[in-house]
Amino acid sequence: MDRVVELEGVVAVVGRFPVLAGAHLSVERGEILVLQGPNGAGKTSLLRVCAGLLPVERGTARVLGMDVRTERERIRTRVGLLGHGNGLYLELSAARNIAFWGAMAGASRAEVDRAMEMMGVSGRLADVPAARLSAGQRRRCALASLVVRRAELWLLDEPHAGLDATGRDELDTVLRSAAAAGATVVLASHERERAAGLATRTVTVDGGLVKEES
């Protein structure tokens, strides 16, 4: 129960290329795990495997105690992913986007408003079409859409990229309080100092493998 993520010798393939080449990883509940490693190491792929977006070719991957191969649908309702993309509908306003993802997660109107407030996309910005927002503002919308999900496992791919100084601090606060409330956070990041301040543990991904460090 307390192992939230358990990867054992996971091989995942895109095209014919093994993006993960036998990765082992285990993450406990309440951890904030940072994935570091060079470009193309397999961090994004690892997060996508955990979210059930990338099929496991060999080895086993268990998330929240369930096998991603067989119980993907059940896992997904309890996991939240922020990828390199933001998952926004660019034609719709910021508010409409976040409300959509809120509705999908069964969140109330008030929760949606709270998330927007928290990520600083309320007020004037709420009615601007996502396409017109600045890069950082779009990232904030994506984070707000994630916050309303109240996931048990947060998977974040370079969540700080594009956020301004206050946004970074706000995000760290959100992640710390989520972890304190019993959620688990796995995030990929290239910003050493910030990641070090946030992480309870850091591992390095390289060549499709996870190298445990402390």
Partner: protein, 229 residues
């Protein structure tokens, strides 16, 4: 999930229609295109008396064109910023996505068909009795449901794995063709083109209904595996 399939589907459909309301691709791009197709044919064939004969085929041809554009658009919106991935991860029931997107597609197609049928009446001088009108409406409704399902399935396939899309048209087109032929024949009967009787359209209607049901069922089941590669 806290929401049922119907509720989720409704939200998805609402979102798709909101995107359309904002971007107005249907009203500003597809509809004028379809209209110009009709006008051009009117221009090319006016003096030959062929016009009335081909009117039903033209209406459905224009619908087919529009179907492709609208479907493409419907999934471009999902993939532009990774929203389809987000939907998958959010654990949204694929059947609900399928139904929601299909319904949004059908609504758009119906608007378009009403417009095209209206144009056919105005431009080609089509005349219909009451029975013909009822049958036209029935044909549109049933054919659109079928096309909406097929189109969404098609779009899901195209949005999925890369290599797979090469198979797509080959799989899909033999399937769409009967729907279009059925709809054309039923519409011919409704328009009375070439001396067709209204009652001649009924078997075609039944065929269309069978298609709609089959594709609705297959789509609801198959959509998940399709978009989830």
């Amino acid at each position: 999930m806290t929401l049922g399939v119907t509720a989720t589907a409704r939200i998805v459909a609402g979102k798709d229609l909101a995107v359309e309301a904002r971007s107005r691709v249907l009203t500003n791009q597809v509809a004028p295109f379809a209209a110009i197709v009709m006008v051009m044919f009117a221009f090319a064939l006016d003096n030959d008396g062929i016009l009335l004969r081909v009117a039903p085929g033209l209406v459905w041809l224009a619908v087919l064109f529009s179907l492709l554009v609208v479907v493409q658009r419907s999934f471009a919106v999902e993939t532009a910023d990774g929203a389809l991935d987000a939907l998958r991860v959010a654990g949204v029931d694929p059947a609900a996505i399928f139904l929601g997107k299909s319904v949004a597609l059908m609504v758009q197609l119906l608007v378009l068909e009403a417009l095209l049928a209206g144009l056919a009446v105005v431009l080609y001088g089509v005349t219909m009795g009451g029975a013909g009108f009822v049958q036209l409406c029935a044909t549109m409704l049933v054919a659109t449901v079928g096309l909406g399902f097929v189109g969404t399935l098609y779009g899901g396939l195209a949005a999925g794995a890369r290599g797979r899309e090469t198979l797509l048209p080959l799989l899909l087109l033999p399937v769409v063709a009967p729907v279009l032929i059925g709809a054309t024949r039923a519409t011919e009967a409704a328009f009375g083109s070439g001396g067709a009787e209204v009652s001649e359209g009924l078997p075609w209607l039944a065929l269309l209904a069978a298609f709609a049901v089959i594709f609705g069922a297959v789509g609801s089941l198959a959509f998940g595996p399709l978009i989830d590669e």
